[in-house]
Every structure is written in C-alpha cells, then in structure tokens.
Amino acid sequence: RVPRQVKSMLTKETKPHIQELSVKTTIISRYAFTAVSCTMLNRHSSAAEGVFQFLIPKNAYVSNFTMIIGGRVYPSEVRPKEKKVKQGKGDEAKPKNKEKGEQSEPEVEVFRMGASIPGRNRAMFMLTYEELLQRRLGRYEHVTSLRPLQLVSRLSVDVTIVDHSTITHLEVLPLRNGKSNTAVASGASAAKTPAKPALPISTVIKQNKTFCRITFSPNIVQQAKITTSGMLGEFVVHYDVERELGIGDIQVLNGHFVHYFAPKDLPVVPKNVVFVIDTSASMLGTKIKQTKDALFTILRDLRPGDRFNFVSFSNRIKVWQPNRLVPVTPLNVRDAKKFIYMLQPTGGTDINGGIQTGSSLLSGYLNADPDANHHSVSLIIFLTDGRPTVGELQSPSILSNARTAVKEQFCVFTIGMGNDVDYRLLERMALENCGMMRRIHEDSDASTMLKGFYDEIGTPLLSDIRVNYTEDSVQYVTQHLFTNYFNGSEIVIAGKLTNQSADSLHVQVTASNSDKSIILETDVALRQREVETERHVKEAAAGVGSGDTGVGTTGSVADDFVERVWGFLSVKEGLRSRLKSQTSREREGHTQQATDLSLTYHFLTPLTSLVVEKPQVLADGTMAEDTPTPTPVPTETNKKAASANELSDETEGEEDTAQGLHLKKDQPGGQSSRITKTTGKVVKRPVQKSITISKTSADGD
C-alpha cells in the first residue's frame, strides 16, 4: 500500500513524473556497457520541461543518447568539437574560475538533458556509456548513481557480470549516502544466500562460477523510506576474478585482442619512498590532522626492506633525515612519527622546492650505490592542497624542473586535496614521471583516501614490465611498457591482430622483481581463445537478453567488445599523450588521433561533442510540425567541455573534465511504429510489396 504521504507527494509534483528508470549494466571481462532508460510522463495538458539527469563515472565515455518524445525519435550524433577562437585578454580571467570549479568535481559527471514534453504525453530518454573497470586494491568496483531527484514508480538496476575467469569475490555495498541492506556473496554458494526479504530494499543476487546478476529494484515506498528527495545514492558492486599465475588472460574477438595481466603470489619488491608533504597555512585544521593520521598508519605499513624519508614544504623546506633514506627500523619509525607530529602548517606553497628536494634525496640515494638498488622500486609521494605561491610559480617551469630532477629514475605520485589545487599541474607531473594522480575532495575523509592511495602503490611486485607479442602479428598495440606493477592492480593491453589466420600468438612478459629478472612466455591458441570469448559474450547476451525491455546493453556492441576495449584504451592513451605533449605539433597529432578514434567508436570525449535534435513544442502543448536543426546537448559534461575549449592551451582539454556518454548504436528508430519525421528524412511504415531479387548475390552458408 502506498502511504498517504507518498501519494500526496506524487500528486503535488508539478514536473513530469519519472514512471520508469532502468539502468542495465553488462560487464564482460571488466568492460562495462551501461544503458539507462528513463520514461517521463507529463500529466498536465500543457507542455512541461522534462529534465533527464544522470551521473556517470568519470572514467566512462558516453556512447549514445536518444530521446523519443511524442512518438518522434531524436537520435544524437558524436561530432568533432569545433575549435573556438581564443578569447581576448578581458576574458582570460574567466577560465581560471571555471577551472577552479572544475577541479572540485566529484568522481562522477552529470549528464543533463532538458526537453519540452507535450501535454499528456511521454518522453523516453536513453543513454548508454562504456567504461573499462580498473582493478584497484584487489577488486573491480562498479558504481551506479541513483539520484533521479524524485520518487520513481518503477526503478531497477541490473548488473550482469560475465567473466572468462571464475568470480572469486562479489559484494554489494550499502547505498552510499543511503540506508540499505548489504548482500554479500562469495563463490558459487552465493546463489543460496539471497538478500533478506524483510529488508526494505530488494537486492537479489544470482551467481554461478563465471556469471552473476544483481538486481536492485526498490518500489516507490521502499525508496521513500530511504529518502523522499530521490537522492538514493550510489549502488556499488565490488568483485574480483581468479587470476592466472602466468602471462594472464588473453581474449580474442574479430581481429582484436585484449590482455589482462595481474599475476599473483609474487614476492614484494622493496621500495624507496620519499613523502613530500605540503605544510602551508591552508593545510591548517582538518587537512593536516587527517594527513598526519594517514602518515602514522602508512608508517606502520612500511616493510622491513623499504627505505624512506619525509620532506615538508611551505615557505621553508624541511627534511627529516638530510641526505639519505633510512631503513625501516622501530627507532626510525618512532623518530619519523615525531617529525610528523611536529609538522605545523604555516606560510605559502613552494611546490617546486618540495619536488626538487624530494628528488635530490632520492636520486642521491640511488646514485650512491646503483647496484644495490637495482631490484627496488623508487617513488615520491607528493601531497598538496594548493597552487604554487612561493618560489617557482610557473607550471611549465615546475614541470620541466621536475623532469630534469627525476631523470626517469623514479616515479612521482601526486595527491591533491580540496578545491584550490592546480590539478592539471599535478596530473602532468605524475604522467610525465610514470606516476598517477589522485584527488581528495574537500569534504572527503582525507585520511582514508590518502591511506587508500598508498595501499594501491605501497606493494610493488614487478618493475620494468615489457609485454611483447609475436613480431608482425599485432599492430596498434596500446601501452605495453610499464614502470611498475602494484599488488591489487592490473595491466591491460589491447591491440589488433595483423595475421588473423595465425594459429597462435606468442606472448612474452619480461620484468624485474625483488631479486631477479623474470620472463613469462606462452603461445596463445588464437582460435580457441576466440571461441571462448565469443561464448562468454553470448552468455552475457543471454543473461540480459530475456525480458530486456529498455535499451539493450549487449547486442552488437558487445559482440565487438574486444575492439571497443581497444578503442577505449587507445582514446585514453591518446588523451594522455596529448596532455603530455611538449610541442603544439605533437599535441595536434595526438588530438587528431584521439578525435578520429572517438568518432569511430562514438565516444563523447573532451575532443568530441554530442549533438541532438530537440523537439519544438507549441504553446498549446502540442508538437511543432517542423523540427529544428540539431544542437549540441546542453549537458554538464558538454558545458565543461566547452569551457575547457575556451581555456588556454595550458589548461585545455583536461581528460576527465569532459567525459562522454556514449549512445548505444541500437537505437530505436524502429521502436516507433507510427509515422515519424526527422530532419530531412521521412520514417514510415513501408508498404509491403514483393520485390524481385536477382540471383546475383553473396550470402552465407
């Protein structure tokens, strides 16, 4: 029974009501296809603005978006983004502010589309996006944001995981920002432990060895018990799969391959680590407290073979143990704790000074005895909450100085805390020095996040990893040289097969670990792999195919999932290279390449825009006869992308500021059986008549 309060709330609602919101995700071997379908009803006789809003993960690319309003189909198109003329000096201040705003974004992006819905009519919004789930801390995380901003009559989330390997761990977390049950399943027995029916939110897990399906479909009353605002939170699924000891898992499909490499049971490589910590005045309060908490915890986790040191920077640079890295002994750890405890925020931010001091400590140690450190991993962990205000202030100079100081001897991992950080600087610094960058948002638990980041990189297992495939058998292979492989992570490489008739592909992985160089190699039977890959694509299609009423998540796109993984990785790589490029020519080349790939795979990236035709609704609430020309989708992501374009070269095109949702190709032009009209084309039911077909043909078996 729907409580009176809920009924009353729905009656009072003036904006179009969301009748159905369906989110279907199919994860085939870490590659997630998500299709969102949202049906809105305008109960009133006059036209009303329906706003479809959905949060997508930052790492994902939108691949399609389509609307059906008043029986007409409005598909979208991914186009290259038009270059804008640089703004005059008077406008140059604006991007900085925008940039600042962008940097405070969460790990999701808002896709928003508003459209007029004719009176007493429905609108259907369909959105698809794709992402390659990254393995972090020994698991993959898939997040579905459920913030429809109102109670929804039929709400469903459907996550299907199909993997080539056995699913070893599966966990559905409570809704983030909401109260929900947690259903935990592990191994094949999970099917016997469904969520408790008495719990307010229904989560059902069906699982076998390599397949699992999780459905979450709270009814309107259950939603109201969590929140009446429609801000349910994030539905999070964690899982992991069995990993091989050898070269890893290679999947082959339609002339492409993807290689997942995450060996287990390897000894830990000792590390040399220098923590470079911002102690400027802005760190005062919670930030420094949480940073100290995290560092205390990290100190406990250092291993006996590790060596470490601390640098703090503000106006002044302080080094805990001058000119050396010290081994992890109880005495050293105790002294380090004292140093951390005594850190007092004051003054400005000398980023250049901090990096230079940290680098000289580390390179001094490495150069003193190169042989002794041959089998260790060296890194700087750099944390700041602000922009450079003291010493060198120009980002290009800071980056150039960092490159010169690092000399490719070690990697720099950067962490930014809060809204006032030059994240582009940190990202470039990390990218140029084989590291990674992480953001800690203003209101986040910095202690946990900092420790979490350290956990990701704190256990190096291999260094100098080189993955080779049979010469002349592959081409367009994505990054295959890696400085480090950390426990709990995964290396993913994809490429095209040049010789598809070859029976096997020779794969060789060379790397160094704690005391030796290792070579892993094997011949992969291509045909067999292809059959296996096809089989589990079919399983995925079968798993979501039955009763699938929304936008299909698998279908033909999934049939080419290996190629799409390659496309996805290649676009990411192109954008990274673009960010790292030193000359405008180099940058143009990467831009062109990444744009072409984005268009080929219909990815909405910082280099492309999504254009969709919008319906015209007359004042009386009916649809206009003529449809306007397509216009760019006014999504948050596109707005950000547009603003990114207005930035100077230095700040333009940040990879993760303008993600693309991707509209799936299976679009519903044919879903409407009535007469419809789109720009320049008339879509109608055909008159069925017999057509003479000649015998001249090419057909299958």
């Binding site: 598809q500 044919g670 059986s673 084309k681 057509i691 001249t696 057909d699």
Partner: protein, 248 residues
Amino acid sequence: PHFVVEFPLSKLTVCFNINGEPGHILRMVSDHKHSGVTVNGKLIGAPAPAGSHKQQRTYFSTITIVVNRPKRSYIEVTPKKVILDGQDRLVLSCDTTVSVESGGLAVTIVGKSTVTVTIGGTIRFVILVHQYKNPAPYQRNHLGFYISNSKGLSHDCHGLLGQFLYEEVGLAELSGNATATGDHSTSSRSPILKVKGRSVPVVQKTRRIYSGRQSVDCWFARNNAAKLIDGQYEDYVVSHLFDTGDWP
C-alpha cells in the same frame, strides 16, 4: 560466403566461394566514379561444424553502402540494425518494419527479414537478415547481399559482384553430355568457363539462395574464384568499411 552471379545474356549462372579471414572487408560493388555507389562487406568467422574437416566458416556481419549522389550517405547494415548517416544520423532496428526516404535514397526494413536500399530508382540492393534463434556453434547471425536492380550501375562497375554485371560468359570443352543441367558425374574433364578472355575450370553445383527458399544450379569456380575474378580475392580486401577506392 557463397557468391552467385547470374549472366542473363548467356543464360548461365556461376558461383564461387570466397574464404576470407574474419575481419576482412570485401569490395562487392565499386562504381564510385560513375553512379557514386560502393558496397563493402565485413566478414565474421565461425568454426567449422564439429566432425568436419572443413575450414572455418565466414559470414557477412556488416554490409556498408556508400552513396555519393545526390547527397553523400553512408548506410551500415548489421543483423541488428541499420545506421543511416547522411545529414543526420538515424539508427533503425532490423527487428522493426520501417521505411526511410530522403532525396533519392530509400531504405526499407521488413522486420527480421530484409533491408532494401534503393538509390535513384535504378539501383536496388536487398540485404537478407539471417538471425538464428538457437545457433549452432558454427552459425552466426549474418547478412546476405542481393543485387535486385543494377540498371543505374555503370559499365565500369567493379568489385566481386559488380565486375560481372555487364559481362557475357560461355562454356567450352564440355566432355560427354555434361551441360549446365546435365549429368556431369561421368565426366572426367572439367568444363571450362570463358570469361573476360580467361578460361576457368568449373564444376556444376547447386546453391540455395534467398534463405534456402530457392535452389539454383550454377557453375562453380574453385580456389576463391581464381581466374574468374580480376586479380585475386585479396585484391578485393579493403581497409575500412567505408572505403570507396576504385579498382586499380
């Protein structure tokens, strides 16, 4: 895929197989310079049926038609959908019956059955959609490509099918009573097909077309249509689905 070519003037039908590799894109019709039409087909692979010693099978997974006039349009057909890229993009499901007309171009889909593309009223291609409900391991959803009307294609048309549209062929060196409809089992010598001044040994076979609804007796040219087609079949492999390059 199996190719069938009808020579109405010669009252002969010739057939051949192209055992391409999965991922290959074959040039079927190439008349870019004159009528502005190009048709390519992408192959997908499937293993040979269990117990047989045959090669893996290949099917058409995608057929693309590039039309250059009056407006440039790209049509991409898969067993699931048809994508029309012209001034704007339209994606139609192959499961639904629908017709789209724009300028001189018409695309008609009969749900789960055929996609007919008509260009300027004088060129018509019919694409059969083969969808399996319970496919065997060696079966894949695929497409069949049929030329329904070729009047608008020029005499310079090329491609695996296009090169034969205005050709005549003849049979020679038939031994015994073997003819196109006769018993060839007693013959020890292969009949020879004369085409474009070349001699191609052929044997008689029967092919099922139109989703198996019709059988056609044809003269079969072996070895990926060696000598029958200009050059070798590899010469018809193009770099991408929308390649419109002409025959050299």
